[in-house]
Amino acid sequence: MDFNDTAEEAAFREQARAWLQDNVPSADELEGLGEVEQAQLWQKRKYDAGWACIRWPKEYGGRDASAIEQVILNQEEAKYPALPGGVFGIGQGMAAPTLMAWAADEQKLRLLPKMASGEEIWCQLFSEPSAGSDLAALRTKAEKDGDEWVINGQKIWTSGAHYCDYGILVVRTDPNVAKHKGLSYFFVDMHSPGIEIKAIKQLSGDANFNEVYFTDVRIPDSQRLGAVGQGWQVAISTLMHERASIGGGGSGVDFKALLQLARTVTIDDKPAIEDSAVRAKLANWYCRRSGLKYTGYRSLSALSRGEMPGPENSIGKLVAAPMTQDMASFAMDLMEMSGAVWDEEFSPAAGLFQGTYMGIPGFRIAGGTDEIMANIIAERVLGLPQEPRVDKGIPFSEVPTGT
């Protein structure tokens, strides 16, 4: 056990640090660009210099780096909190490992480098209005027509669908077998005729998610990943990567921002950080954040051996999302009456805490609710039995549904 860099790791860190120092885009360069354009500018620059998706094989645009090297790069990039990003996570974090495991070589060579460079952006088409936590209850159907499949139905909660080029899609290919056995997995060109995208206005007032409607959308059979009926298994492999990649805990309030706030606001004319109740809360959050960080480091060893991220990774989101919510809420308490004001000019950290308070409920739901995450830990890590289920062993078409 040694938490210090080896000589080789230190050299890699220095290389990464130097490159970032010279290449991180300035505010002037980003001025006037939209969120997606900013992210693409930075991603392309990284790709051209060999700093994008570094763990991927070289032939797909990566550099065959180790998991530890990825962590080192992440640590160095984190020193630039204003770096654009966020739009490539689903593609690079979830679709890519799924493609690597299930797609044909020719497809990997064609799709992955463009995903790494940020030229093509991917989204995820899994959830449906009637299939959230019970994802395998999805109803969007695919019917075979020659060498193509014809898709009809509706997906929901699709981040970034409006600017994406491809999506990973799970559909029902056979309603007459048991729920999990009638699914198949595809990737789809988001510019295909018959796809219609509608933004969903969230409770925060933003619109990051979409409803995606499919009307007679045609997908070549060659874009199927895994066998017909094997879709659930492929989807699980994607979801394990989702839990590992969302595991960082969503954006928003960082411990450092809260600490800084506690140093500046006062309680009884003294900095809040000197108040013992404030210290106790901050200490608890620090412990959980630190625990997650080192849990992540420990799982690196398994990743370094090429193992899949296991169900243990569900812990990241389960801990980070509720904690971030509590931290944001507490930050506003520290502001006392002025906590009610959400104004970029007036509010501490340009309104970060209010913004997080409104954004974080979504993180406790996206990618598996807190409750589903706890079930995964209970059943898949601890080995506890499932609840009895009324949908087991009967064809999907006979499973009871609501209205």
Partner: protein, 372 residues
């Protein structure tokens, strides 16, 4: 960077598990809890024969000269079985104090005996209720003689030496003193204890002969350093106990049926156990960092130790109380073993200072590193 124990350390863990399964089943804890003896003397001797008490003591003083990474492996396993022996007092505190601050003569005199378990050491700090402070110390030294009263001295009745925190002979500061307990100026009276498997005593010093440990006046800083080092080791014991609580709860929940199915299949129970797993995992990961910082004597030790300590204290408390809850009525009986973990979790959490005290130290450490 490397975040795993070595193969040798994992082998040591297996060996320790096998040894403790044979020599420290819960029935041994129960025997001490129910009986007159203050500890399991036979187990203590066997543990010493295994060399565990000698783990980090340098070879020149009769120890094995191994690293703290070996010692934390042993600490976790002892915590898991709720071992009724004075390991934390003697190894994490008294031995550590000597390694940290003892003169060559003091080390030569005591470490070889501590290494073989022939001498049991302990640590005496508290004088009453509430948080101790350097200014509040009422135990005083006068020409190498200590006078005052210490309370809740863990394993005091079976120890031969105590490391005592007292007001320094010269000036206002604190100092650490080594006191041999078998002498006229020392009285030890047992105090009834939350965890009957670990005795505690009141230590009355009436001009007791004492030797200064380390330099006078710097005793408070030395005490904090000692406690930081001990906190990592305590935290590993606590993580072991927390894990044992989860395993006990799981085993019961799998076998207990209600409304026609195992209670482990109900989400209310599953989520309870999942929360235990989450707390235990976070605490364990913080303990990895603490173990590294202790072993490397890293500048981050105060922060790493407080982080490990706070999260391990919380994890053990949560797991041990919810283990009883998972068992229902039977968990509240004398007959069931849940009580051992519940008792020990609180004992370990106050033995070297409360959760609140360590939360406070954690933030202090962050603020100091920020100022530096």
């Amino acid at each position: 960077m490397n975040f795993e124990f070595s193969e040798e350390q994992n082998l040591l863990r297996e060996q320790a598990q096998g040894f403790l399964a044979e020599h420290c089943p819960m029935s041994k804890v129960r025997a001490v809890l129910d009986g007159e003896a203050s500890y399991d003397r036979e187990l203590w001797q066997k543990v010493a024969e295994m060399g565990w008490t000698a783990t980090v003591i340098p070879e020149e003083y009769g120890g094995l000269g191994l690293s703290y990474l070996e010692l934390v492996v042993i600490a976790e396993e002892l915590g898991r079985v709720v071992a009724p022996i004075p390991f934390s007092s003697s190894v994490y505190l008294a031995t550590e104090a000597l390694i940290l601050a003892g003169s060559i003569e003091q080390k030569e005199r005591w470490l070889p005996k501590l290494a073989v378990g022939e001498v049991i050491g302990t640590f005496a700090m508290a004088e009453g209720h509430g948080r101790a402070s350097a200014a509040g110390l009422a135990t005083t030294a006068d020409g190498g003689a200590l006078t005052g009263t210490k309370v809740a001295v863990a394993d005091g009745d079976i120890a031969q030496i105590a490391i005592v925190v007292a007001k320094a002979d010269d000036g206002d500061g604190a100092a650490l003193y080594l006191v041999e307990l078998d002498q006229a100026g020392v009285a030890l009276d047992p105090q009834r204890t939350l965890d009957f498997s670990r005795s505690h005593s009141r230590l009355t010093l009436s001009g007791a002969k004492a030797e200064l440990l380390g330099s006078s006046g710097e005793g408070w800083a030395l005490t904090q350093k000692l406690l930081d080092r001990a906190a990592v080791l305590f935290a590993w014991e606590q993580v072991g106990g927390a894990q044992a609580s989860l395993e006990m709860a799981k085993e019961y929940a799998m076998g207990r049926y209600a409304f026609g199915r195992p209670i482990a299949s109900y989400q209310a129970i599953k989520h309870k156990l999942a929360n235990m797993y989450v707390n235990n995992t976070l605490a364990r990961s913080n303990c990895y960092y603490g173990a590294w910082a202790l072993n490397a004597d890293a500048a981050e030790l105060p922060l790493a130790a407080a982080t490990a300590r706070v999260s391990a204290t919380q994890a053990y408390y949560f797991a041990s109380k919810e283990n009883i809850q998972t068992h229902g009525g039977m968990g509240y009986t004398w007959e069931f073993d849940c009580q051992f973990l519940y008792r020990r979790s609180k004992l370990l959490s106050v033995n070297i200072g409360s959760e609140g005290q360590w939360q406070d130290k954690l933030i202090t450490a962050i603020e100091q590193s920020n100022a530096a």
